[in-house]
């Protein structure tokens, strides 16, 4: 169903255009590619279309035109259900904040993608869900918090639980939408250290979006969305 070719780049957008219904063009990206296994820092001021681009890459939004290839599959040609299944199986996603289902425990939050989607569950191989959750929780230093309810966790702990959920089942692509913006400097650093360690271990591709250039030095590559988005340039001009 969702063919993921090992040799294909993690992300390859060609002539990607997107406009909300009846609105002006928000994104016009002639060429945007990320190789497998890279950690990429994508920055830009708020309102430049960052979240829209992430929605397209995650398959929640559908491109108005052009190609959106993720792991070799063109999301632009997939039907909605296929994109959802693709996202469930291959993409880990971390929000800015409020990442967790409030009425579930940390454990259940981390395990939820595998419980909702058989494809994601299959990625665990022979490892039991319980063991996999405990392992990824250990990497992110939240093993002690697994029984707590999401609402009982601090913001920093919540973000680590969110990262653990995104990494469970070792998805090929991890997308983070300003996950550290609600953290103070100390917590930001420890969060990023844990995230990077886990991403490197699974050799996942990390696309990290932020408006904070101070973090850029930690990444393999740094991209500027205004630089690759012609729609934003036109608007600025």
């Amino acid at each position: 169903m969702t063919l993921v070719s090992a040799g294909a780049p993690a992300i390859a957008c060609v002539d990607l255009r997107f406009a909300y219904a009846g609105g002006p063009l928000v994104l016009d990206v002639p060429d945007f590619a990320i190789a497998r296994g890279r950690t990429v820092f994508l920055h830009g001021p708020s309102g430049c279309g960052k979240t829209t681009l992430l929605g397209l890459l995650a398959g929640v939004l559908r491109a108005t035109g052009g190609r959106v290839q993720v792991l070799g599959s063109d999301l632009a040609t997939m039907r909605g259900g296929q994109r959802d299944a693709f996202r469930a199986a291959h993409i880990g996603y971390v929000f800015q904040q409020f990442n967790l289902i409030p009425y579930l425990s940390a454990f259940d939050n981390i395990a939820l993608p595998c419980r909702l989607d058989a494809g994601r569950r299959a990625r665990l191989g022979r490892t039991s869900l319980d063991a996999a959750v405990r392992e990824v929780a250990g990497q992110l230093d939240i093993a002690e918090l697994l029984d707590r309810r999401a609402t009982e966790l601090s913001v920093g702990q919540q973000q680590r639980v969110a990262a653990a959920r995104a990494l469970l089942g070792t998805p090929e692509l991890v997308i983070c939408d300003e996950p550290t913006s609600s953290l103070d400097a100390d917590r930001r650093e420890s969060f990023l250290e844990l995230l990077f360690a886990s991403v490197r271990r699974t050799q996942a591709t990390l696309l990290f979006v932020s408006h904070d250039p101070a973090l850029a030095s930690l990444f393999d590559e740094v991209r500027s969305l205004p630089a690759i988005n012609r729609a934003a340039r036109r608007e600025a001009a």
Binding site: A58, D84, F95, I101
Partner: protein, 474 residues
């Protein structure tokens, strides 16, 4: 699927107050609907089961409802009277298996007195299998014996051996027109039946007659017998005398009640008994076996087919204008006239369920705004829009299901608890029944309606999650 159900369940538990209140609204509204239905069915069974086993009730020509109400429920006055020879004629009719005469018209402290025979205890059935049984004592035999319905005994505190003075006329005020000269002794008390019989006293036909004798009537007994031969209607009178040997044996003969009156003199309930203690008997009058008149009589036939033939025959009786009703048919007709009330009650119940479900809709709908983030998170981890819809439909489904179960428990438990109270306060026996097809239909309809109503917030969440994607506009 299971994950989603668990998710819906936890989501609801996360909002315990709203959830419990919503479930309570659904449960209580369903309880009302089912309770109305249960009570309606119970009352109908109780009502239409008031008299069973009797194929026909025969009275003077008149309205069928009036005959039924008067003879079975003791409501209103009897349609008229059935002369004794007419009763005799039908009692020996080949199609008839048994008859029970009824004389209505007297009362004791607000309870009606039925003049009848002990056969009534054998033949009167109620509800499906109910038979009249004696809680204490036995059937009345002599003309000074009385059997009490359970409620009469309970309310008036009478026990076996108590003395009862019967008043004349229905609903007579105590003391006015009491037949004090002829007190009755309680010889039996019936077990409770939850029929109008609980509120009745039973005496023999002789008892009724004896009661209506003027004081000192016994003094004329001898004369009465002496005059018998002169009676122009001796033939019929003799026949009756033979049929009621007991009458003759006790020689409790009746003096003339209305000298010179052409109609049969004893007409219980129709006119106050003229008391003429000192008046000499008119020579041409019979005393002992003056044909008595009945208010009505119950008939048991041999077959259902004969019942219908007999009913027609009686209704077309040329000699005497009579009305015969099939009690079950007339009870059902009577119940149907109450149908509008039933319909109204049911409508109220249905509307309450609708209101309960609308409460759930409001609760779910208003929670959605706060849950848009949750929906975005679910979408981010791969949930389809359909999954979001399913989650919300499951939530309303769980609320409705739990509400329905609680409602069923409340109805069944409530009736079990309230039954004695209802019986004590209204005398209506509501049989405990497991909900029938109608009730299950209501439960199923409520469940379906709950799920359908769940589609409304689900649809909104679906639209919102499509528009929001991963970035709900908070």
């Amino acid at each position: 699927m299971r994950t989603l159900l668990a998710l819906a369940w936890r989501s609801l538990r996360n909002r315990p107050l709203t959830t419990v209140l919503t479930i309570a609204a659904v449960a209580l509204s369903l309880t009302l609907l089912l309770g109305v239905e249960q009570a309606r069915r119970g009352m109908r069974e109780s009502f239409t089961g008031t008299i069973r086993g009797t194929d026909l009730i025969v009275g003077a020509r008149g309205g069928t409802t009036q005959l039924l109400l008067g003879s079975v429920f003791g409501i209103g006055s009897p349609t008229g009277r059935v002369p004794w020879p007419v009763y005799q004629r039908y009692a020996s009719h080949p199609a008839i298996r048994w008859t029970v005469p009824l004389v209505i018209g007297d009362s004791h402290r607000g309870f009606r007195v039925l003049g009848t025979t002990a056969a009534i205890f054998e033949h009167w059935r109620f509800r499906s299998t109910g038979r009249l049984t004696f809680a204490q004592g036995r059937a009345m035999r002599g003309d000074a014996e009385v059997v009490l319905g359970s409620e009469v005994a309970a309310q008036l505190g009478y026990a076996i051996g108590a003395t009862v003075v019967v008043g004349h006329g229905l609903n007579a005020v105590a003391g006015l027109g009491d037949h004090e000269a002829h007190p009755f002794t309680v010889v039996g008390i019936l077990a409770r039946t939850f029929t109008p019989l609980d509120r009745a006293l039973f005496v023999t036909l002789d008892g009724i007659e004896a009661m209506h004798e003027p004081e000192g009537g016994e003094a004329h007994a001898g004369e009465a017998h002496a005059d018998e031969a002169h009676d122009e209607r001796a033939d019929s009178a003799t026949a009756i005398a033979d049929a009621h040997v007991h009458d003759a044996d006790t020689a409790r003969a009746a003096p003339p009640l209305m000298p010179g009156a052409p109609a049969p003199p004893v007409m219980p309930g129709a006119s106050p008994p003229p008391t003429m203690p000192g008046a000499p008997p008119a020579p041409a009058m019979r005393f002992t076996d003056e044909p008595r008149a009945l208010s009505a009589f119950l008939v048991g036939t041999r077959t259902r087919y004969e019942t219908l033939l007999l009913q027609r025959e009686i209704n077309q009786d040329r000699a005497e204008p009579l009305t015969a009703v099939v009690p079950g048919v007339t009870l059902a007709e009577l119940w149907r006239t109450l149908g509008t009330i039933e319909g109204g009650l049911r409508l109220v119940g249905v509307l309450t369920v609708v209101i309960g479900l609308l409460g759930m809709l409001v609760a779910l709908y208003s929670s959605l705004e706060a849950r848009r983030r949750e929906m975005a998170v679910l979408r981010a981890i791969g949930a389809r829009p359909a999954t979001i819809v399913a989650l919300l439909v499951f939530e309303s489904g769980v609320v409705t299901l739990v509400g329905c179960l609680a409602g069923l428990v409340l109805v069944v438990g409530g009736f079990a608890l309230a039954q004695p109270l209802i019986e004590a306060s209204t005398g209506v026996h509501l049989p405990l029944r497991w909900p029938g097809a109608t009730e299950w239909g209501y439960v199923a309809a409520t469940l379906v309606a709950g799920l359908l109503i769940g589609l409304v917030p689900a649809w909104r969440a679906y639209r919102a999650s499509l528009a929001d994607g991963l970035s709900p506009r908070l």
